[in-house]
Amino acid sequence: MKYITTVNGREYTIDILDESHLSVDGVVYELDFERVGNQPVYSLVLDGHSFEAHVYTDEEQWQVLLRGDMYRAVVEDERERRLRSQLEGAPAERGVFNLKAPMPGLVIAIPVGEGQPVEKGDVLLILESMKMQNELRSPHAGKISRVRVAPGERVEQKQTLLSVV
């Protein structure tokens, strides 16, 4: 099975040949891959070189923590790749950003109001958790569309707080 994997902006074509072999950009490696103790920790022996990686996922990408460095990877198989290349070029949908609480906490202040235009990096909401006040910022420019919480409110992790369109 063939995958196109992008890490830190560089593409790798990875072909899984059998249980113990794969090729990276045509170079064949002998491989032993084990998950450790049912955790998101993987031991990888690649041509005799031993690595241990923590592999996490969020909606779009994989985060690989390896020897103290974080790598961000997007993995696509050939079919997904074709689909995406067809979609590109079509007018991209304007991104809606739903600000979700990264952790449970207490809403301290919301310095923006509905309908207000914001720039990338503007503070949208101040959330207190673990005795720290954390400023949650906008990832892109847009307009505040729906404010779903109010200062003084306790929120759960991943609860949607407001949206930027």
Binding site: Y3, V24, Q39, V41, L44, R67, A73
Partner: protein, 504 residues
């Protein structure tokens, strides 16, 4: 003299104090909130009593309940640890009024040093240099502060009068940006200390944060245990500490000069027990009193390691009325110790706190390593308390050896279930500026990044690509397998039977 100590704290520091009590043969009493029922400090103690619901104000800040519990279980002393009630003069006073021993300074010293403006006035009278800023005492209104700001000059710092730990602190670069920052500082100070008063201090650029550990007994002996370098900070929170400071290093004359000033500052408030005098030190070796922490510090282990003195045990001995067993001449710092604060926060996502259950953990061990922690596999990191989950401390004969050892220890340390700042520390250990000791309090924010530049990519992107691809591949296969099974219109057992018949 007491034989049972109540520890009015939680987490790693409660466990640390319980350990000292154990070694001294004293009974320990833990207190806990609902969410901490199975916390390490509860499991480790001889006795444990519940304080109430999770929020600090309903549990670890309930001084009245804590004192009542101490009296009921006949504990003779209360150790407050750091944070929570540690620097509350009214609590220390209430402990004494109830006939219990407070393992810490006198209430009068706590209040003298707790009000930062009063502290500045007191120590400068004793001839200790202070950072230029708002003079005198008392609450100041915003327009007063704006008028003073121009005289002090920019950049400057807004600080909470009742402050500590970087809360209610804001940097100001110009007069225009000052009003909203004052409002934010007052809001945070009010929330953290119940006191919205603020004052101003000149921001010394390029300065280091160096502090001296103090021990004082009830017989009038005051000594210092040498210096600690705490310049590695983020948002005014210390992240890494060392003893000694690379800036002082072999300049013993300078060390003793600063140490003597620290002792004088402590004597100015009639200090008792363990405390810390913090200084800001400029490149030309000018130094200024910053504040005194009237409690045990988070970073006390680095001093313990280089001096060989168990500070928590000394605290208890002092509280029991013993005389210090050593004088200033007996104190020497041997080798080099470094501490990394391991926090449940995501360094790749703006250091936002991370909560969750710890599902897997491997602690670093071997020569020269100490881990002070209050968590274990299965423990839930909650949003109610600070994010410190452990302190990783190493010792080396030289600073170089300590750094290499820390690098190894960080590599061994695995915590799964919450995100931690371990990768941040790993990058720090690789930083040439850090290795060279060229740091000041702005180092992390101004000259250090986890982002990778175009030129220096990390060394194993293809390995990361392989790992991500294999995990993704397994996931797809598992998903496909589940669908295939559902596609069969008959039960798996029937299907297996047919398949086996076919194979015959």
């Amino acid at each position: 003299m007491f034989n049972k100590v109540l520890i009015a704290n939680r987490g790693e520091i409660a466990v640390r104090i319980e350990r000292a009590c154990r070694e001294l043969g004293l009974q320990t009493v833990a207190v806990y909130s609902d969410v901490d029922r199975s916390a390490m400090h509860v499991r480790y103690a001889d006795e444990a009593y519940c304080l109430g619901p999770a929020p600090s104000r309903d549990s670890y800040l309930r001084g009245d309940k804590i004192i009542a519990i101490a009296k009921q279980c006949k504990a003779g002393a209360i150790h407050p640890g750091y944070g929570f009630l540690a620097e509350r003069a009214d609590f220390a006073q209430a402990v004494l009024d109830n006939g219990l021993e407070f393992v810490g300074p006198r209430p009068s010293s706590i209040s003298a040093m707790g009000d930062k403006m009063k502290a500045r006035a007191t120590v400068s009278q004793a001839g200790v240099p202070v950072v230029p800023g708002t003079e005198g005492e008392g609450a100041l209104r915003d327009d007063d502060l704006l008028a003073i700001a121009d005289k002090i000059g920019f950049p400057l710092l807004i600080k909470a009068t009742a402050g500590g730990g970087g809360k209610g602190m804001r940097e100001v670069r110009s007069l225009e940006e000052m009003p909203p920052l004052m409002a934010a500082a007052r809001r945070e100070a009010e929330a953290s200390f119940g006191d919205g008063n603020i004052y101003l201090e000149k921001l010394l650029e390029g300065a280091r944060h160096i502090e001296f550990q103090i021990l004082a007994d009830k017989h009038g002996n005051v000594i210092h245990l040498g210096d600690r370098e705490c310049s590695i900070q983020r948002r005014h929170q210390k992240i890494l500490e060392e003893s000694p400071s690379i800036f002082i290093d072999k300049d013993e004359e300078f060390r003793q000069r600063m140490g003597a000033v620290a002792v004088r500052a402590a004597q100015a408030v009639g200090y008792l027990n363990a405390g810390t005098i913090e200084f800001l030190v400029e490149k030309d070796k000018n130094y200024y009193f910053l504040e005194m922490n009237t409690r045990l510090q988070v970073e006390h282990p680095v001093t313990e390691w280089v001096t060989g003195i168990d500070i928590v045990k000394e605290q208890i001995r002092i509280a029991r009325g013993r005389q210090l067993r050593f004088s200033q001449e007996d104190i020497h710092q041997r080798g080099w110790a470094i501490e990394c604060r391991i926090c449940a926060e995501d360094p790749y996502n703006n250091f936002l706190p991370s909560t969750g259950r710890i599902t897997h953990m491997l602690l670093p061990t071997g020569p020269g390593i100490r881990v002070d922690t209050g968590v274990y596999v299965g423990f839930e990191v909650t949003p109610y308390y600070d994010s410190l989950i452990s302190k990783l401390v190493v010792w080396g004969e030289t600073r170089g050896e300590a750094i290499l050892r820390m690098r190894r220890a960080l590599e061994e340390y695995k915590i799964i279930g919450v995100r931690t700042n371990i990768p941040f520390h790993q990058r720090l250990m690789d930083s040439h500026r850090f290795m060279g000791g060229q740091v000041d309090t702005r180092f992390v924010e101004d000259r250090f990044t986890l982002d990778i530049s175009e030129e220096e990519q990390p060394p194993h992107p293809h390995v990361a690509a392989v790992a991500a691809t294999l995990v993704a591949h397994r996931q797809t296969q598992r998903a496909a397998h589940v669908i295939q099974r559902a596609e069969r219109d008959t039960s798996n057992w029937k299907w297996l039977g047919r398949w086996e018949r076919l194979r015959r």
